[in-house]
């Protein structure tokens, strides 16, 4: 088992989440807000991977499936182990974070060209 308990990793995750939220709340600069979002996504990933390593997973792949032909050992063989779920989830989060960061930065660059500034508070053409 890893050198530290599950709770250690969860507390680090909670800390990263809180700092991410703080960054998002207190920053005016859009790029800084984006950094806060990345902290939040990393915190979720730490939790996912930690749970994947520590937590017992029921053998949910296959057996309850009604239409799926492969059961038990065969299902495990083809569809992978159930405990890997958290790792796979984390991999997807990384993919989505990359897409989100690319789009967000394209938008920020676009607004910079339009306004010459990326302060969120300056974005005030609309009020009310």
């Amino acid at each position: 088992m890893p050198v530290a308990n599950l709770e250690w990793f969860l507390l680090i995750g909670a800390f990263l989440f809180a700092t991410g939220v703080f960054t998002i709340l207190t920053r005016k600069n859009a790029v800084s807000v984006l950094m806060g979002v990345e902290l939040v996504l990393n915190s979720a990933n730490i939790n996912l991977v930690a749970f994947s390593r520590f937590v017992r997973s029921p053998a949910t792949l296959g057996p309850t499936s009604i239409e799926f032909p492969l059961q038990g050992e065969a299902a495990h063989h083809v569809y992978g182990a159930a405990w890997i779920g958290g790792n796979v989830f984390a991999a997807f989060v990384i993919i989505l974070a990359a897409a989100e960061a690319a789009v967000a930065l394209a938008i920020i660059l676009g607004i910079y060209r339009n306004l010459g500034d990326v302060d969120v508070d300056e974005v005030t053409a609309m009020k009310g």
Binding site: L10, G13, G20, I24, A30, V33, L34, G36, V37, V40, L41, S43, A44, N45, N47, L48, A50, F51, V55, R56, S57, P58, T60, L61, G62, T64, S65, I66, E67, F68, P69, L70, A75, V78, Y79, A82, W83, G85, G86, V88, F89, F92, V93, L96, A99, E100, V103, A104, A106, I107, I108, G110, I111, N114, L115, V120, V123, A125, M126, G128
Partner: protein, 516 residues
Amino acid sequence: MQLGVVENLSFLTPEILLTVTLGAVIALDIGGPKDRKGLVARLAATGLGATLLMVILTYFELETKQRARVFLFADSFVVDPFSMFFKLVAGVCSFMIALFAAKVRRIESQGEGEFYTLLLVTTLGIFLMAGVTDLVGMVVAIETLSIPSYILAGFYKRDRGSSEASLKYVLYGATASGSMLFGLAFLYGLSGTTSFQGISAAIASGRADVLSISLMLGLVLIGLGFKISAAPFHMWTPDVYEGSPTAVTAYLSTASKAGGFAILIRLFYSILARPEVASRPEGQWIPIGDPGWTTLVAVIAVVTMTIGNLAAYKQTNVKRLLAYSSIAHAGYILLGFVVMHGSGLMAMLFYIATYVFMNLGAFLCVIAVSEAGGGEEISDFRGLGWRAPFLGFCMAAFLFSLTGLPPLAGFVGKVYLFAALVEHGWVWLSVVAALNSAVSLYYYVRVVKTMYLEGIPRRAGDVVPLRIGSHFGIMLFVCLVPTILFGIYWQPLARLATWSVGASAPVEARPVAAHK
């Protein structure tokens, strides 16, 4: 070896067709002829129409084969009447938006190919949101909807309002989905599995106390509440709706919202509730674990509709007014959620289906007016009832339907919602909702008043007609028909909604025979 997947792939025909259309649109945009004015739009609309046809065929197939639901990919995706209902609604919205956008000059000149590509990707996202029963699929589906939506909101690159809308949308959206992910990570940790069914079992086991469960679900609710713009996660809505291209606003307020409701109902009714009698999922539902969440949702619904209606009062921009109105409508739809009975869910589905048409229609009127040279302020609508009689009539019908006046579809939808509430002991909630509807009459009527009672021509010859073109006229008519028809003859839609709810049972319930 994976024969099962191939066999059941026929149930994914709508999604596959959508992806093929997407590929064809990109290919045409890159390699097509130079003077292909409107060709991309026509291709995308044709593909969406074919997809819609496949959705309807799959719907029938589910009924005729007596199979209420088909599970795919080791139970991580389900094709059932509930998901097909939302695919139908979202498909209709996308199809209509594709048709409207074809005549919006600015979209055409800025990059048709990109617009329709992104529209098709978001549609695929909603289709997946309707059917996922797994956390990973859920997150990917929601982001497949969200990320292209951020770009669509800022599609008018040189327009300050549009790029601001997209910046706000992406920053709020990324924060909301990050919080949701953190909540989902806890749910995964609780159960050790990513499937809704396993999470439901873990919550039922009582391994986490009520406070912890509430916190986890609260985090998830941030992400989903953002998608349906429920209070207090609605702040982005007015700015994004006002700044975005109107075709995109129409899309965000209908299809995107329907997708949000689909995943909200699926998630909460899969992990936090089970039907009282497993073979009759359309009846009473029993909460699992913490029963307090219905009260929480009731409070959210009340706050949402009240904020939406009160803020709509002082708006002078029609798009912004409709944005607040759509917040209020998210509140009404949430009412069906708290009933914990099939009748509430059915009322939600019915309301969403009717709401989509009246809201699309109202935004279509805004597009038609601005394409004909008018503006988006309420004052720009002065005398519109005289200058463009058909458009004025349609807009009035859509607004009255949004208010919930008979004999229009919005009225029947509200009756179903309120009846479900009263029937199951939520009388105070239905009173608050009825009061809210009464309040909303004021600002909807204000627009109608501006159209008909201001700028009345003195003499017949004074009328300056506003020509909206036959394309928009036909589209308006297409939205008008269901708005009026479902107000008079609503039974078919009600039957469809009831049947669709019948199969929204959590995954572990035994598959039931198709309901007649």
